[in-house]
Amino acid sequence: MLGAASLASARTLPVVSLLAGVLPAVQQGSTVACTGQAAVGVALALAAGPSQAGSWTVVAGQPTLGIHAAADVGVDLARLVAVPGESFTDQRWGESLAAMVDGFDVIILGGAVRSLRSTTARRIQARAQSRGAVLITIGQHASIGADLQIDSAAVRWSGLGDGHGVALTRQMDIEVRGRRMPRAQRTTVQWPVVRLAYASEPVVQPVVQPVVQSAGGPVGGSVAIDHDVALGQSA
C-alpha cells in the first residue's frame, strides 16, 4: 500500500494504567520485546490496552499461556486466539504469522517462534509495519529486532512466608529501552494492585506453623496475614 507505513507510525495503541507511567502508548507497527522475570505478564499487560479497546490478540507459539492471568490483567478473552504450533517449520510459521499480521492488531510471539529465520522475521515485521500491527515477543528473540524492550527485574513477592501465607502481589522494577528513546525509563510497579480495603483491616499476627486445612484452601484470615507481610516489606 502506498505510504501506509508513514501513516501507521503516527498511530498508537492504548496502554493500561499499570504500564502508563513508563510507556504512554505503543506505536502501531512496532516490535516490543518483553524480557526478564515477568516477561509473560508484561506481554499480557501490553496486549490488554488494545484488547479493551476492541482489538483482537493472537498468541503464537506459547502453549503454556495462563488464560486466567490474561483475563486478570485485562485481555478480553472473547477476542483472544492462540496458535500453539509447537512442531511448525519455519515456512509454516511464516505463512501463519503473515495471516495473523493481516487480521490481528496484537501478536504475542512465544518460545516456539524463537527459531524463526531472520529473513522470515524481517518480512513479517515489514508487513506488520504497513498493516499497523504490534508484535510482542516473550523473551529476546534472536531473529526479531525490537524497537522497544521492556525489562522486568528484581521481582519481590509479598504475602508469602516461611510455610505460611499465600503470594498476594509482587513489586518489580520495569525498565523501558528503545531505539528512539534517548534514555531508559525506569519505574517500580506493584502488580496486581492490592485494593485499599484490605489495608484498613486489622492486622493479624502471622501463624508460624504450617496451616493444615482439611479441604479448604487459604481463605479468610490468610489474606490479612499476607498483607501483614506485605506491609512489613514495603516499610
Binding site: W56, T64, L77, V81
Partner: protein, 524 residues
C-alpha cells in the same frame, strides 16, 4: 405516501458466486455461522444462522465456502451492468441487492409487471445457470423500500416477480411476521424477539400500536421499526438533501493500479465520514464516480440504511473499481475520484451491525482465523473456554476456533462457574503447564520431602530440581490439600499444593500427589 420502489434481490448471492451445481449442497459460512446456502442444502435441512457443526450434521456432503464480501461485491458488478440496460439509475445495497425508483422504468416498459418480468429475465441471463441452483433472483415492486424488499424476497423463492398494488403496502405487510424486520431491514434481533414475546407477532400488529406508545417504550429504533411495519418510508421526514459542498473530489496523475486509487479513497472517505460524524450525521447513500484520462466514466450509487462507515466506503470503491476494470478494457489511467453523499441523516443510533454490533476488527480477525485454520490446521487454532476447577490448568482451557462461536463468546466464557472452595487465592499464574512437569523437592540434606495424609510436611522444602537445574527455595507456603471426586475412581485425585519462591524471584506452584512432585504453573 412513499414513492414506488423496485428491488432486485438474490438472497443467496454468495452461493451464486461460489458456483453451485444443480444438486450440489453449498453452504457459505461467516464466523462459523451459515450466511447463505444453495437449494439442495436447504432441502437437507440447513438454515441460515445455523452453526457450522449443526449444518455439517444436516448435510455432511455439503461444500463449505468461506464468506468473502469482496469477491461477492466484485462479481455483483456484472449484474449491475446488466440492470443498467433497463434501469439507468439504481442503488446497490449489500452485494446481491439493487434498489431503484420504479416509476420511470415501469412507464417505459409498460407497467410494473412487464418491467419486472423483463428485468428478471435479463438478470437471470447475466447471472448464469448457477443462480437457479442457489435460489435465484427475485424482483419486487411496492410503495417503499421495505415492502419492495420483502416482495423481492418472496419473489426469489417463487421465481416470478411480485408486484404490490399502489397504496397497498400496508395491507400487504400486515399478515407477515415481525422477524422480517430483522432479515430485510436490519432491525436488531433483541427488539424483534421482544416484540414477538409481547404478542406483536405480525407487522400489522405492530403497525396498529400508536406511534407515540412505541416511541415511549422503544425509542428511536422502535419508531424506525414501527414506520417500516406501517408501510411508510423509513427515511425520516426530517432527512434533507445535504448541502452541495459535502462532495469530495480528488484529481491525480493517471494511475493504472486500483490499489493506489483505493488508498486515496481511504483518505477521502475518512475525511468525509469524519466531517459528517462531527456534525452528528451519517451518510446513507453515496455516489462514487471514477473517471479515466480519456473520459471513460463509471458512476454508481451505494445505499446502506444503517449508514456507511469509512471502511464500508473504501470497500465499495474497491468493488466498483475491480468490477469496472474486469468488465471493460480501460484505455487510460484513472485521474479522478469523486465521493458525493446524496443522502445524509442524523446519527440517531439506529445503526446496528447486521449480526449485532460487529466491528471492522472483528471481521478482519474472523477472516484471519479462517485462513489460519487452512494454514495451521484445525487443532492448532484455539480460543479460550472457561471450565472451572481448583488447579491452574483446570480453570480455563483451549478449544478449536473452528467449532466455536467467534462473535458470541458468552457460551464458552460464562463468567461464573461456581465458588470452587479450596482454590489458591492471589494472582493467577501466567505460565500454566498443560501437562504437569515432574520435579524433585528436597530439604537441605537432600531427602525428598514427604507430605502425610493429614497434611503434615516432613521438613521445610529447600531445593527444587527442575529438569537438570537445582534451585533454592527462599520462601514457601502450603500445603493446601485437595481431595476431589473421591466417588469416581477414574477421576479422583488427592494432592497437596504449595507455592515456592525460588532464589531468582520466580514464584512457582507445585503439587505432590502419591509421593511425586509436579510443577503446575509459574508466575512469569
Amino acid at each position: 405516501m412513499p414513492p414506488r420502489f423496485g428491488v432486485l434481490w438474490c438472497p443467496n448471492w454468495p452461493v451464486v458466486v461460489a458456483g453451485a451445481g444443480d444438486d450440489e449442497a453449498v453452504v457459505v459460512l461467516h464466523a462459523n455461522r451459515v450466511v447463505a446456502l444453495s437449494r439442495a442444502a436447504a432441502a437437507l435441512g440447513v438454515a441460515a444462522g445455523m452453526r457450522r457443526r449443526q449444518a455439517q450434521s444436516c448435510a455432511p456432503g455439503a461444500r463449505l465456502v468461506d464468506h468473502d464480501p469482496d469477491r461477492d461485491g466484485r462479481a455483483f458488478e456484472q449484474i449491475g451492468r446488466a440492470v443498467a440496460q433497463m434501469v439507468p439509475r439504481f442503488e446497490v445495497g449489500e452485494p446481491g441487492q439493487i434498489c431503484f425508483a420504479a416509476r420511470g422504468p415501469a412507464r417505459y416498459f409498460g407497467g410494473d409487471l412487464a418491467m419486472s418480468t423483463g428485468l428478471l429475465e435479463l438478470v437471470n441471463q447475466a447471472g448464469g445457470v448457477s443462480s437457479a441452483a442457489a435460489g435465484g433472483f427475485g424482483v419486487g415492486v411496492a410503495d417503499g423500500r421495505f415492502a419492495a424488499g420483502i416482495a423481492a424476497r418472496r419473489s426469489a423463492r417463487s421465481g416470478v416477480p411480485e408486484v404490490v398494488s399502489v397504496a397497498g403496502s400496508a395491507t400487504y405487510l400486515a399478515p407477515l411476521p415481525v422477524s422480517l424486520l430483522q432479515v430485510v431491514a436490519g432491525v436488531s434481533a433483541d427488539l424483534v424477539g421482544l416484540l414477538h414475546r409481547m404478542g406483536l407477532k405480525s407487522l400489522g400488529d405492530l403497525a396498529a400500536v400508536a406511534e407515540a406508545d412505541v416511541v415511549a417504550r422503544f425509542g428511536l429504533p422502535g419508531r424506525f421499526a414501527h414506520r417500516l411495519a406501517g408501510g411508510a418510508d423509513p427515511r425520516p421526514p426530517a432527512a434533507k438533501d445535504p448541502p452541495v459542498g459535502l462532495a469530495v473530489q480528488r484529481e491525480f496523475e493517471p494511475v493504472h493500479h486500483s490499489d493506489a486509487v483505493v488508498f486515496t479513497a481511504r483518505q477521502v472517505a475518512e475525511q468525509l465520514i469524519g466531517d459528517l460524524a462531527a456534525g452528528g450525521q451519517v451518510c446513507t447513500r453515496l455516489e462514487v464516480v471514477v473517471e479515466t484520462e480519456h473520459g471513460e466514466r463509471c458512476e454508481r450509487v451505494w445505499h446502506r440504511p444503517l449508514g456507511l462507515t469509512s471502511a464500508a466506503v473504501v470497500e465499495r470503491v474497491r468493488w466498483q473499481l475491480d468490477g469496472w476494470a474486469s468488465q471493460q478494457t480501460l484505455t487510460a489511467g484513472i485521474t479522478l475520484l469523486r465521493l458525493d453523499p446524496i443522502e445524509v441523516r442524523a446519527d440517531d443510533g439506529v445503526q446496528q451491525g447486521l449480526w449485532g454490533g460487529r466491528t471492522q476488527a472483528d471481521d478482519w480477525a474472523t477472516r484471519a482465523i479462517n485462513r489460519l485454520v487452512a494454514i495451521a490446521g484445525e487443532q492448532q487454532v484455539l480460543v479460550p473456554e472457561q471450565r472451572g476447577g481448583r488447579l491452574p490448568a483446570e480453570s480455563f482451557g483451549w478449544v478449536p476456533a473452528y467449532s466455536a462461536d467467534l462473535f458470541d463468546a458468552s457460551g464458552r466464557l460464562a463468567g461464573f462457574t461456581g465458588p470452587w472452595p479450596g482454590s489458591v487465592s492471589g494472582p493467577p499464574p501466567t505460565v500454566v503447564h498443560p501437562a504437569p512437569q515432574p520435579i524433585k523437592v528436597t530439604d537441605a540434606a537432600g531427602t525428598v520431602i514427604d507430605v502425610s495424609g493429614r497434611g503434615m510436611v516432613s521438613a521445610a522444602p529447600q531445593r527444587v530440581r527442575i529438569g537438570n537445574a537445582i534451585r533454592q527455595v527462599t520462601r514457601w507456603a502450603g500445603p493446601w490439600p485437595v481431595e476431589q471426586r473421591w466417588w469416581d475412581t477414574a477421576r479422583s485425585r488427592r494432592l497437596a499444593r504449595f507455592q515456592f519462591l525460588l532464589d531468582d524471584g520466580l514464584l512457582i506452584e507445585v503439587a505432590v500427589e502419591h509421593q511425586r512432585w509436579w510443577l503446575l504453573a509459574e508466575h512469569g
